[in-house]
Symmetry: C2
Subunit: 475 residues, 2 copies
Amino acid sequence: MHQLDNKLPDSGADDILLVPAADIYDDNGVLRGSFLAHIGAAIADRDTLALERDVASLHQSEIGHLLEALLPDQRRALVELMGAAFDFTALTEVDDAIRMDIVDHLPNEQIAQAVQDLDSDDAVYILEDLDAEDRDEILAQLPFTERIRLRRALDYPEETAGRRMQTEFVAVPPFWTVGQTIDYMREDQNLPESFSQIFVIDPTFRLLGAIDLDRILRTKRVVKIEDIMHETRHAVPATMDQEEAAQIFEQYDLLSAAVVDENERLVGVLTIDDVVDVIQEEAEEDLMRLGGVGDEELSDSVLVASRSRIPWLLVNLVMAFVAASVIGLFDATIQQIVALAILMPIVAGMGGNAGSQTMTVTVRALATKDIDIYNAGRIIRREMGVGLLNGMIFATLIGLVAGSWFADPELGGIIAVSMAINLFVAALAGILVPLTLDRFGADPAVASAVFVTTITDVVGFFTFLGLATWWFGFL
Amino acid sequence: MHQLDNKLPDSGADDILLVPAADIYDDNGVLRGSFLAHIGAAIADRDTLALERDVASLHQSEIGHLLEALLPDQRRALVELMGAAFDFTALTEVDDAIRMDIVDHLPNEQIAQAVQDLDSDDAVYILEDLDAEDRDEILAQLPFTERIRLRRALDYPEETAGRRMQTEFVAVPPFWTVGQTIDYMREDQNLPESFSQIFVIDPTFRLLGAIDLDRILRTKRVVKIEDIMHETRHAVPATMDQEEAAQIFEQYDLLSAAVVDENERLVGVLTIDDVVDVIQEEAEEDLMRLGGVGDEELSDSVLVASRSRIPWLLVNLVMAFVAASVIGLFDATIQQIVALAILMPIVAGMGGNAGSQTMTVTVRALATKDIDIYNAGRIIRREMGVGLLNGMIFATLIGLVAGSWFADPELGGIIAVSMAINLFVAALAGILVPLTLDRFGADPAVASAVFVTTITDVVGFFTFLGLATWWFGFL
């Protein structure tokens, strides 16, 4: 009998000792150096047996981690040495650049052989980044039905449900009984590797409904399928954006959903594990865009990373010159009172910080659709309240500190007033800029930060230097 | 026969026309104003029948959206009017503040009645935020087994797998056959509402293994359970942090996982829908922390939101004074050349932007464990390369523009050199600050931004003003 704490399963006839998976990671979840050294040595010795024994037993994600930790030469050697024993699904777990590098070094015949054993969604994931010529050559070597299935998924645009779907599914006619359905599943050899739902279709493949597996198991054999199926309210059109599909999964707690073509014919199934990846990617995208970085990956080279970051820096540079020219308006005043030059970055910077707080909240709420016409007014009023309140608190604080630093209460008063104004403006900009961008169909995560900080810089410099110029009579 | 496009299901004996769910949202996924007005009118008229007809048929998440769109008085009236027809799982879909408000206004008897119908994870979600007195009173009114189950989950600390688990599960002994298991599921009335896995246990509830439902359906009736179960390598200790548990789900593409106590006895099951929520929360947390906001919710009041944002602004204010005092060192130089005051925010600001790009990439990579001892060195070198390259590009650019703006090539040269230095320092700070914080057990998302911008401000002001002072001979 198997036991939970029995980490070394009885390997039966062949006397190979499996590496227990939990042991390849240390307590921080990082691959152990000793394991990596062991695999590195096996690659150097071209010890195919050791690799098949210690790598083939790992989960695809563990092989993915291993590939990412190896050097590029070692990765390619590992895949080549393992041959048919290498699990290609591991390639869906690594950075794009690493996958491309490995696949580019493999003969098309080996790729064609490998993708036949994969679920169609994994096969598509690997094939979609290849150049058209290689892809066609690989597809040409596949059996007919396999080729048709992959082509169908590849024909849908990137980032749609059709691209992410698995084309293997279980479908039965409505007039079958539960008993017939169970017998069919016991006998058919071509079932998908795992599934949590079966679909009900008419002879033209039009989707009629779906049944969760637990429902089948609870129902007596004589009951008809059409009597226990539920309507598939959440069937996903193949052309639907993957992010939208992910939101349906999240909202309705789905494990899988039927994917249908424009005639409502069942063409595939979208599963929660792919959707989890999409959710992660989308959350990551917002974070990266707010931070001014695009679809960068850790494995990108210096040149690629540098190039991807230049546009944002360039836009910021232009905006920084705009803010600087506002300072230039008051050069005569600064020459008289250098303290203004010392204090002005505080006013502008605090505005930027407060604005980015409001903006972060707003961008996130837009992404999760938590902000809409019903609460937008209330949230704008709330942010104005926060801006007013925090403006007054920090105005008092900075007024006291700056006034005593330069032993000049008037200067303290001027910086206090401009700080209060700028924090209020920051709150307004922090909420209105992303809302406006969203309204006009632009991605608020990409452009909000530049607009908000430019507004707080310009308003900060202008109110502070302008007030001082007026008060001290330099006009 | 049901059809996909038949949105109005035949309601059978009772002649109630169901509101088709898809129709409550407009094309942007926002609740329709007409629907909201209709429900608002029904609440005002205390039209219980209309509410039961049009709200009770909605999915819990749709009722959640409805509650969030209603005014506080309307929400409480809706729950009160619907009584037992109100689906309490909808309360797990709304902001904490809204849930607390509704629950606080309900009699404990009604809550006790309602949570009995819920899955235990939903019941715990609603009970955990109540004050201890109310919670005890509600628990006291529950049947014995229900009470024990909920107590067990509530005894585990917040944000652990034990808190999030569902205590209803299907478990069978290893010597049963597939046929016996299916018969048991057909007859037992106390099965959980839905499940995707059954567990195998010994008489003391020790976990022996698990079987996915599709595996059961594919296997002949005579086969023994112990022959098809797989070892549950991924059983989750009840005390494990929910984020760690979510990472296991993600890595191994799990739909559900057994939760075990310290004696490896099965106490519950963690399901992917709860995990998806955890993944969302954790991604959101990083984004919010980088933006300087804590665990704020959209429904928080002005006072709550204001207070939660003050600490970050305060730390930034202190740091801004540090940067300002660096400018103060060079007041004599600024008085001679006011152009320096005009240009210095550009040098500091561009450093801040470049630093936050690197920092964003690093914080995200740390959160997803994509950065470790194997690639840290390579990534640090890459960021230094990017800093050097972009530093040179933007140094050239700003040198030319600033030099011609003030018709002073020497000033152009000085700003170019300080820009190159500051962008290189920004890259270093952007990667080393989060890595160091993480090394010492601090959350890099919380504190990185303040450190990085302080470093780029100080270095930007110091190199630019210092170089100018030295070059133009004011020392």
